[in-house]
């Protein structure tokens, strides 16, 4: 009997021992003379169950987790003799946390072997590309526009309109740039998709290329993601060998090729124009817009620069049709969003679902509340530039407009949960501090404002002229919000002002004996 096992190679799983478990499984099986094949997949995104080991059965995959090296002998016993095991979770697809999701973008993540082009194709890969070839540029643009897909990096700009602008631009060269510079704390969807389904990214970018008339694409990602870089590079090689990158891709008249470029620890390079500067080999300094990258982008050429999650949504839209995608969602937020649940949470991980789910459902129900068991106090949505939401706003639906209406943003879909031990003064100071560290320095409100912000919040923390300094911080936030060149300086006020607004009690003046005497 030969067993087919699946162990994630996802960095999040590796960080909690997946490599050790895979090795222990191999060694123990060979010692027993048990034939096993281990497929290293991406992660299913249920991180509290990692390392998650799955076994193929005639009834589908059965999951076990979280598995440690010490569990390996008993796990092999159970598998070989088909007996119960404490860590047995049943059929993977029936695990409620997974079952209640709508996985359109992440359908294959954790399922297939990310290094195998054949496996990708066997699971519906390149279906969108085939249809795109038969449709041609104009019809693809119509599909993408009709799907209602908006920028998943957080700005929410309609992808179809962006592509149309680039398609209409006349130039000798055009580029597709994939923004995989996932620097927001609490986000890991880009990393997961690159590690778990890299061909999806390649397919999405290729479709973008044939639509706008670009022959070269760049994937810009972070040096902090070595596993994702390796997975992407391996997939690019495999796609080239398989005729899906290079000249006459997939037997068509089109040419398209890709290259991975690695950042060097600068958060601001997630901003699209700073990212372009960085690929060009310069300091990641933000460019003033206009001109838009669609007209004057990478190396001065028309460039479609999209978030990786936008590009990863494209193959589904082309394969299944715009309507199927647009049928999910609410209001002007169509389709699904891969939401990332993180921080102090019992069930953290990747939850892809249609727009419209409320923050409360995500935190209390799906996330299961805090890991520490203490009450949830604050939830930061959308990364370091996102607002802190109190429990009172848990009815906010996950939707670009609904969050904006409450002075927040969904950003890249990261949700970081804090329990009641959080000191919101510290979080407000950190937001300014982070902006000061990461500011590109081009515009004054961001460069100077963030440093003054840190100093002023520190004064508040030390109890110095608290009400005057609070007013000063609010004023400074307004200057940064309206005067900054990009979202770094422009959105840093979100966490700061939301902390002030919703958690004012943390900023109250500390009563001193002097004040008491007055």
């Amino acid at each position: 009997m030969s067993l087919r096992l699946f162990v994630p190679r996802d960095a999040g799983a590796i960080a909690v021992g997946a490599d050790e478990v895979a090795l222990a499984l191999e060694q123990a099986a060979s010692k027993r003379g048990l034939g096993i094949e281990i497929v290293r997949t991406g992660s299913r995104g249920m991180y509290w169950l990692e390392p998650l080991v799955e076994v193929a059965t005639p009834q589908g995959r059965i999951a076990f987790g979280p598995v440690t090296e010490a569990d390996v002998p008993s796990l092999l016993d159970a598998l070989a003799n088909n007996t119960p095991h404490l860590l047995r979770l049943g059929a993977t697809d029936e695990i409620p946390w997974l079952k209640r999701q709508t996985r359109l973008t992440f359908a294959r993540c954790g399922v297939i072997d990310p290094r195998s082009l054949d496996d990708y194709r066997a699971h519906g890969g390149y279906k969108g590309f085939e249809r795109a070839l038969s449709l041609g540029s104009d019809a693809i643009l119509n599909e993408v526009t009709a799907s209602g897909l908006r920028g998943r990096g957080g700005a929410g700009f309609p992808t179809g309109i962006k592509w149309k602008t680039v398609a209409q631009a006349k130039a000798d060269r055009k580029f597709i740039v994939c923004n995989a510079d996932e620097g927001d704390s609490g986000t890991f969807a880009d990393r997961m998709i690159m590690e778990g389904d890299p061909f999806l990214v390649i397919e999405g970018m290729t479709i973008a290329g044939i639509t706008v008339g670009a022959t070269k694409g760049y994937i810009y990602t972070r040096s902090e993601y070595p596993h994702a870089i390796a997975a992407m590079n391996a997939a690019i090689l495999a796609a080239r060998r398989g005729g899906y990158l290079g000249s006459n891709i997939g037997g068509s008249a089109y040419s398209f090729d890709l290259e991975v470029r690695v950042g060097a620890g600068a958060y601001v390079c997630g901003e699209e124009t700073a990212l372009l500067e960085s690929i060009e080999g310069r300091r990641g300094v933000v460019r003033a817009k206009p001109p838009l990258p669609a007209h004057y982008g990478l190396f001065g050429k028309p460039t479609a620069i999209n978030n990786i999650l936008s590009l990863a949504a494209i193959p589904f839209i082309l394969a299944e049709g715009a309507k199927t995608y647009a049928d999910y969602g609410m209001g002007r937020s169509r389709g699904t969003m891969p939401i990332q649940l993180a921080g102090n949470l019992r069930y953290g991980g990747l939850f892809e679902t249609a727009f419209g789910v409320t923050l409360g459902e995500l935190v209390d129900d799906i996330g299961g509340g805090t890991l520490t068991g203490r009450p949830v106090r604050a939830v930061q949505v959308g990364g370091p530039l996102g607002a802190y939401f109190p429990r009172a706003l848990f009815d906010t639906p996950f939707d670009y407009e609904a969050f904006a209406a409450r002075d927040g943003l969904i950003g890249h879909g990261g949700i970081v949960v804090f329990d009641d031990s959080v000191d919101m003064r510290k979080q407000a100071r950190f937001a300014m501090e982070f902006c000061a560290i990461e500011s590109c320095g081009k515009c004054t409100p961001c460069r100077i404002g963030s440093t003054r912000g840190v100093e002023t919040i520190e004064k508040i923390i030390n109890g110095e002229r608290v009400s005057e300094n609070l007013a000063l911080v609010e004023d400074l936030c307004n200057t940064m919000k309206f005067g900054s060149l990009c979202a770094l300086g422009g959105f840093t006020p979100y966490p700061v002002l939301s902390a002030l607004k919703h958690f004012r009690e943390d900023f109250a003046p500390v009563p001193t004996t002097l004040q008491a005497a007055e």
Binding site: A11, G12, I14, A15, V16, Y47, W48, E50, E182, G183, D184, S185, G186, T187, F188, D190, R191, S223, E224, Y225, P226, R261, V262, G263, A264, G265, A266, Y267, S278, I279, E280, G281, R282, R283, G284, V285, F299, Q340, L341, A342, G343, N344, L345, G348, G349, L371, Q380, P384, G414, V416, V417, F418, D419, V422, Q427, F430, F434, I437, E438, C440
Partner: protein, 158 residues
């Protein structure tokens, strides 16, 4: 595992630069390659990069200093990076960072006097659902707690 770096050598440096110089916008690619080989970007390499790419020394220096990753001198034998971003803060990262600083006797961003360990902050390893997280010489560690941190510190000090 400790990364083994070559000592700075001009001929080798020139080879590395030449290998990547034909790519469009090669500056970061070259700086990464130099640091991978030597463990840092030697000052002597900056004018070489500038010449190869027909840039001014100031431009290359500007790029080198802009990005947090690039080192102007070698790091300690081991590099322990602790994630200090919000998801890890929410999961108890502040206390762990303070503990690491106390155990190693250096603050974040510095190297121990014996050159054994460089302790650095990192802003997000993308392991936010298994926070707090760390990276020791390229190896990822999630669900960090006091015990695991102490073991990492001890490993780095060996």
């Amino acid at each position: 595992m400790t990364a083994v770096f070559e000592p700075w050598n001009e001929t080798r440096g020139a080879e590395i630069i030449a290998e990547h110089a034909n790519q469009e916008g090669a500056t970061l690619v070259i700086l990464h390659a130099l640091q991978e080989a030597f463990g840092y970007v030697p000052e002597a390499a900056i004018p070489m990069v500038a010449q190869a790419l027909t840039l001014s020394r100031a431009e290359v220096h500007g790029v080198f200093t802009f990005y947090h990753d690039f080192r102007h001198k070698p790091a300690g034998r081991h590099v322990l990076k602790l994630c200090r971003a919000e998801a890890c803060q929410a999961a108890g990262g502040d206390a762990l960072a303070a503990r690491a600083e106390a155990r190693l006797g250096v603050s974040l961003g510095n190297t121990t006097a014996d050159d054994r360990v460089t302790l650095e902050p990192i802003y997000c390893l993308g392991l936010c659902a298994t926070a707090p997280s760390a990276m020791l010489d390229g190896r990822l560690i999630g669900r960090l707690d006091q015990k695991r941190l102490d073991a990492l510190v001890a490993e780095a000090q060996r």
